[in-house]
Symmetry: C2
């Protein structure tokens, strides 16, 4: 009998580490956890959770002695924190260690979209450069007007990078932040009106669902580009697709999608988008750091110590 | 009879501007210029030059009253400046206006190579994400040890961006520069030994041919990545290909190639490279600025005024 259950698609370095550190029992998803023997479930004090499947009150109630759900990832929208609070269960996440990777990908999607790097690379690899001449001119990105929707830690890391590209930085957040003179907009539509490139760095969950609304997308206008590294849910995806298809905005760079990995096939017909498979934090280095922080939270809970990165 | 000859592949906005500003005669390349009537050649005082075909003493001697070769582009290695000096011909280029675009592309190639963005995008577009699961983990780039080979104006713009990615910046140049504490290496091999990511921002021409030598590439080592936005000639391309093929270095991001646009087909067999069709300055905005600066130099020469961006 073990005190630690690991739920989710752990990889070949993460799984042995969980087993060695805690003698953890590892299952693929919440439904497999539900199928465990009740006696085994009753010994579980901590769950190391990975993935985007919902984990709510019903799942928590399967484990009468559960005291911690330690999420792998900074976004914990899969976990019902209100339900955890009602059961006196603590929740942790893995913030900060992934900020750099996510910000890097945001910047690269931004430049790649404007500079048409995917199409330009195909031009080389298909031999068109030699047969048909220079690739077509595209769009300058540095020096542009950029907006950050959600100025949390990841938003700040994106903005700090953008500033080095000589951009004019604007942002929207629930409240004004300490910045190096960047322009705050209390209204998301006003932010979109002020910029050409909009970086979405909101937290996920119901409070931000379709926060990048049809109105925000319309306000970006025909030169507007949306970069999203947060959650697919933060954008009104149908409105985004409509705008991309008719050229009401210029393009998008997206690492996250509603219903991923089954993304809306309308995206695949577009040439003005950069599409990435939710790999914002997907480096060997960062995933190792995230897995370690998750384990450190589990260890702290089992030892009765302070959690490193508590959510509630 | 006109005083201005334009040589090169001018586009549909550049050509009319040259014709309207100077009543310029426009030809495709130096050989077509050589075929002009001698009387027409004798009226030419200024040449607006675009392209990478050599323009040397023999070409200059076709124009007995030539006083200026105004190059389109910052790199003027196609133009024999010694031959120009010997004939009292001035040469201008178009520096600075393209630095941002070139630096942007360098940064995006760096991130794209490490984060395998081309392969990850294919993973999405081919439906593998839905059928086979998450794309494989790849490599963190921010926070790494980066080196700039050639700390001119473009190198500096690359370094300023890299600093915002929390990197440890090293550089090699003919002499130490004023920097925010970056590490200078007098020896190019020492620079390569100190870093994982090497950005080549050298000037072109015979003095820098194969400056990124077999020894420099070997010193980068198996985690090393080369990013080149300068000229294909600055790297020992055979040594680079050998190293890429056997994994002696980790990868490359290349916008320039020896013999471009007919690049060595060995590049096309590699999966660890980002290949771009010499589009460093290839945006609508920057090419317009380059064309204007070229015309402003021609106008200054014809009016007997000071050249804006003289090379010699």
């Amino acid at each position: 009998m073990t005190a630690t259950l690991a739920i989710g698609p752990y990889n070949q370095s993460e799984r042995p580490a969980l087993e060695e550190s805690f003698n953890a029992h590892v299952v693929a998803d919440p439904s497999e956890a539900a199928g465990m023997d009740p006696a085994a479930r009753s010994t579980i004090k901590a769950i190391a959770y990975k993935g985007h499947l919902p984990f709510g009150g019903a799942e928590m109630d399967l484990f009468p002695n559960l005291g911690l759900v330690a999420n792998y990832g900074v976004g914990y929208d899969a976990i019902d924190v209100d339900a955890a609070n009602a059961r006196n269960i603590r929740v942790t996440n893995t913030p900060d260690v992934l900020n750099d990777d996510v910000a890097d990908l945001a910047i690269a999607m931004w430049i790649s979209q404007g500079r048409e790097m995917r199409q330009a690379e195909a031009w080389v690899r298909d031999g068109k450069w030699a047969s048909d001449g220079a690739y077509r001119l595209n769009r300058k990105v540095s020096g542009g007007k950029v907006g950050i929707m959600g100025m949390g830690r990841i938003g700040r890391d994106i903005a700090d990078r953008l500033a080095a590209f000589k951009t004019d930085v604007h942002y929207h957040a629930r409240s004004e932040k300490q910045t190096p003179g960047w322009t705050y907009h209390a209204d998301p539509v006003a932010l979109a009106n002020a910029v050409d490139f909009l970086f979405v760095a909101l937290v996920g969950g119901s409070a931000t669902e379709k926060y990048v609304s049809k109105e925000v997308i319309a306000a970006l206008g025909k030169d507007g580009v949306v970069i999203n590294i947060s959650r697919g849910s933060t954008i009104d995806e149908d409105a985004l697709l409509d705008a991309l298809e008719i050229g009401a905005i210029a393009g998008a760079g997206l690492d996250v999608f509603v219903g991923e990995p089954d993304l809306n096939p309308r995206f695949l017909a577009l040439d003005n988008v950069v599409l990435q498979p939710h790999q914002g934090s997907g480096t060997v280095e960062t995933r190792a750091a995230m897995a370690k922080l998750q384990r450190d939270n589990v260890a702290a809970h089992l030892a009765g110590g302070d959690l490193l990165t508590p959510v509630n």
